[in-house]
């Protein structure tokens, strides 16, 4: 099936530039022959593969779709349909030179109190900076922003791109999983209709089995992060595991290999008692949100050097994922529906009742010997910010200090770097944490 779409020139150029940026990072890393560098290289290679796939589809008019991580990408893998995730550019080239201008551009569309990452997704479409897919899968949870952004996409520049939404129920019970499994089946039909790719249930079984291995390995790795000191810092592990299992290699063999390398390295470090934080780990933090990728050169090194902070666990690194039961089509779709509604990070906490915020905090604090919980208060996370009282009370109950900052994870100008450092310093001092 050919798509006969005219691709915006700007989008292809941007994708190629971003790819070149990632390529440059890879080259810089190749000077480092350590195992840790090798793990990072594995992720960057996966990113580059994704860029190649999308650029190839866009240049050669092959079908591909735009979607989000929260749609059980095992389905895409099983169907063999190429896909990319909406805010890919912003996430991956987050420190790339153009991102700040893009943030400004997105503010002109939706103002400054609408989640930056979501408004970037709309901005990239409106500004012809996203490759135009054959079809688009809209995300309708966990927040209000997703619902309206996809309506804006549909009624705007991509009015001629077919768009699909799966309706997410509020509850997490068998009735909801069954309902959402049907929504996922509808999605399969939609993808076939607009791309020509079809679903083979035996293939889905193979993919789910492979994916189960990845998730099992991820869990094994997470056990190793419980050790004090934690064998890796925030840069290795949680964000990468999430990206590999849910986005780059969902149910693909490359994923399993990568996870094995990660575990082998962590085991070695645990045996040798090596801390992920070079100067020694003095504060074990649960960073309860998306990691502050945009701040990686400003805050993270400072937190490590000044306070001995290790973000031992974050919202994206830990979820009690269930294995997909591969008995038959029903059980697989039910498992994928449950994963989509109740397991993927952020969706799990923010879509339905607020209870997961609390039970996750409680479990992670206990399992990972956490010294303090930080809710960054990303300006997009309205539901979480309306849950700060509950989180604070939970932390008080289990005897762990809680900090709510109030920042934009994707724009350092919202709360300045200096202000954030000051907030951290005052908090750690008051809690008596991190003293040398």
């Amino acid at each position: 099936m050919t798509t006969k779409r005219k691709q915006p020139e700007k989008a292809l150029k941007l994708y190629k530039d971003d790819k070149a940026y990632m390529q440059m990072l890879l080259e810089a890393l190749s000077l480092d022959e350590s195992e840790e560098a090798d793990i990072n290289k594995g992720v960057i290679k996966a990113v580059l593969d994704k860029y190649d796939e999308v650029i190839d589809c866009a240049e050669n008019d092959k079908p591909f779709i735009a979607s989000w991580f929260a749609y059980a990408a095992e389905i895409f893998t099983a169907m063999g349909v190429p896909w990319w995730m909406f805010p890919q550019t912003a996430f991956l080239g987050i420190e790339a030179p153009h991102v700040q201008d893009d943030v400004d551009g997105s503010e002109r569309l939706l103002g400054s109190d609408f989640c930056t990452i979501l408004r970037l997704s709309l901005y990239y479409v409106e500004a012809d900076m996203s490759p135009k897919p054959s079809a688009c899968i809209a995300l309708l949870h966990p927040c209000d922003g997703t619902v309206v952004v996809h309506q804006a996409i549909k009624t705007g520049k991509w009015h001629d791109v077919p768009i699909f939404g799966a309706d997410p129920p509020y509850w997490e019970d068998e009735r909801s999983y069954e309902y959402y499994a049907n929504e996922l089946r509808r999605m399969v039909g939609f993808i076939t209709e607009h791309t020509g790719y079809t679903m083979d249930i035996d293939r889905l079984r193979e993919v789910c089995e492979e994916s189960n291995k990845e998730y099992a390995l991820w869990q094994e790795y997470n056990e190793l992060r419980r050790v004090v000191p934690c064998p890796h810092d925030w840069t290795i592990g949680p964000p990468q595991c999430f990206a590999m299992a849910t986005f780059y290699y969902p149910g693909k063999p490359g994923g399993v290999e990568w996870f094995k390398k990660l575990i082998a390295n962590a085991e070695k470090r645990v045996k040798a008692g090596v801390s992920g934080v070079p100067g020694g780990e003095r504060i074990r933090v649960l960073w309860f949100d998306i990691l502050p990728l945009m701040w990686q050169f400003d805050i993270q090194p400072w937190l490590e050097a000044e306070w001995g902070v290790n973000m031992v666990m974050n919202m994206f690194g830990y979820t009690p994922y269930e294995q997909i039961d591969t008995k038959n089509e029903e059980t697989m779709f039910r498992g994928l529906a449950k994963r989509s509604l109740a397991e993927y990070p952020m969706i799990r906490q923010a879509r339905g009742v607020a209870d997961h915020f609390l039970s996750d905090i409680e479990r992670i604090v206990k399992d990972y010997s956490i010294d303090c919980v930080i809710w960054p208060g990303h300006m997009g996370h309205k539901d979480g910010s309306a849950s700060i009282g509950m989180m604070r009370e939970k932390c008080r109950e289990i005897g762990v200090p809680f900090l709510h900052i109030g920042l934009d994870l994707f724009d350092k100008r919202y709360t300045s770097v200096e202000d954030v450092k000051d907030i951290f310093s005052r908090f750690f001092s008051a809690a008596g944490l991190g003293q040398k």
Binding site: L110, L140, D144, V147, V148, A152, G165, K382, A386, G406
Partner: protein
């Protein structure tokens, strides 16, 4: 700007908007009647009525601050929610027997989590409202309505029969028909009622026993049909947005000469422009279809914007609207997105458009006045 009619009923409606427990509601409570609050225009008031209670739309009018709520929510939460939850914490909603929420927006659904932990209300119930409007969603919401009905039956020790449901549907449809008649009068070149006054009427419809309301509105309609119309306005305006329940806000705009003749808000046409189909065989299915498919949708329903866009353009024609004001509660993502799309629509059709951000409690009247004035000038009035 005011109507020429000196109506006692209108005054009662206006008073009803200024307080949570208005005179009619107080009478009901004094007689031992029960009241149940709901948080969104998707709240199925008919089921509450069928259970023998008075449904009231939750508001925070008269709130004097958010100090207590701010311990639980943050400054990026919609001020309606913070004020409303604050009133829960200070006990001002202690008179309600129950509350029902829908996961209508990120802010409101978290009031539920906080409320059930911090405020002692005998019955709290959450309903899962779909975000799409196909048949599968009608079926889903049908089941949610059954679960809600059963929760009320259990709590009150009653049976809600189909007859009770049909009676409630007829009663609420009557309210909708009467409100629509009121709006018909606003289509005239010289409407007999201002936008601020009309808003008071609609708010009152969500705040008092419906039988009384319907009676009173019939009386008002009689008075208005003979009233002299308003002619001293500069332009006819339509207001679009979410929870706008304060007539004082509209009055600021009307005081500079912009007569608000219609709207698409949660305390406006979207709650009464269509009715529940009384020809359906089963009342719960009728209600599910109304809330999911027939009621004019708000932006939280995916893929409904083109329909809303047509709804707005039809209104503009029918009510001879000269300009549109889009109002958005600060931090409300649903309406940020919606107004972005609306702005584009208005540009393409050439209808003058003004976007106003606001907080729930009307403040900064000067700023609204200045912007409204400038807007009227920009449209040449």
């Amino acid at each position: 700007m005011e109507t020429k009619v000196k109506s006692k009923v209108l005054q009662q409606f206006q008073e009803a908007t200024e307080t949570i427990v208005n005179a009619e509601l107080k009478k009901w409570l004094d007689q031992g009647g029960k009241v149940m609050g709901y948080f969104c225009s998707y709240g199925p008031e008919e089921v509450i009525t069928a259970a023998g209670m008075v449904p009231i739309r939750m508001r925070a009018i008269g709130s004097t601050g958010t100090e207590m709520a701010d311990t639980y929510m943050s400054n990026i939460n919609c001020s309606f929610c913070r004020n409303c939850f604050n009133m829960g914490l200070t006990g001002e909603y202690d008179f309600v027997e129950g509350l029902v929420w829908l996961n209508n927006c990120d802010h409101v659904r978290r009031i539920y989590d906080n409320w059930k932990r911090k405020v002692k209300t005998p019955l709290t119930h959450m309903m899962s409202l779909p975000k799409m409007t196909a048949e599968a969603q009608v079926e889903w919401f049908h089941d949610e309505l059954v679960i809600f009905k059963e929760a009320l039956e259990k709590h009150l020790g009653i049976t809600i029969t189909d007859k009770k449901l049909w009676d409630a549907i007829k009663l609420h449809n009557e309210t909708r028909r009467l409100l629509k008649q009121l709006y018909e009068l606003r289509k005239k070149d010289n409407p007999p009622i201002t936008g601020a006054e009309a808003l008071a009427v609609v708010v009152a419809s969500t705040a008092m026993p419906r039988e009384q309301f319907n009676q009173m509105l019939k009386e008002l309609l009689g008075e208005l049909s003979e009233a002299e119309g308003i002619s001293d306005y500069r332009a006819r305006l339509m207001v679009i947005g979410s929870i706008l329940d304060d007539p004082a806000y509209i009055k600021i705009i009307e005081d500079v000469g912009g007569l608000v003749v219609t709207d698409s808000t949660c305390f406006g046409t979207r709650i009464f422009w269509t009715g529940v189909d009384e020809g359906e065989s089963d009342p719960i299915t009728a209600l599910a279809r109304y809330y999911i498919q027939d009621k004019p949708a708000c932006p939280r329903m995916f893929d409904t914007q083109p329909k809303r866009s047509k709804y707005v353009s039809d209104m503009i024609k029918e009510f001879k609207v000269d300009g549109v004001i889009g109002e958005r509660m600060i931090f409300c993502d649903l309406w940020t997105g919606e107004l972005f799309m609306l702005n584009k629509d208005m540009k393409s059709t050439g209808v003058p458009f003004l976007q106003l951000d606001r907080e729930y409690i009307t403040a900064g009247a000067g700023q609204v006045r200045t912007r409204a004035q400038a807007f009227l000038e920009s449209i040449g009035r």
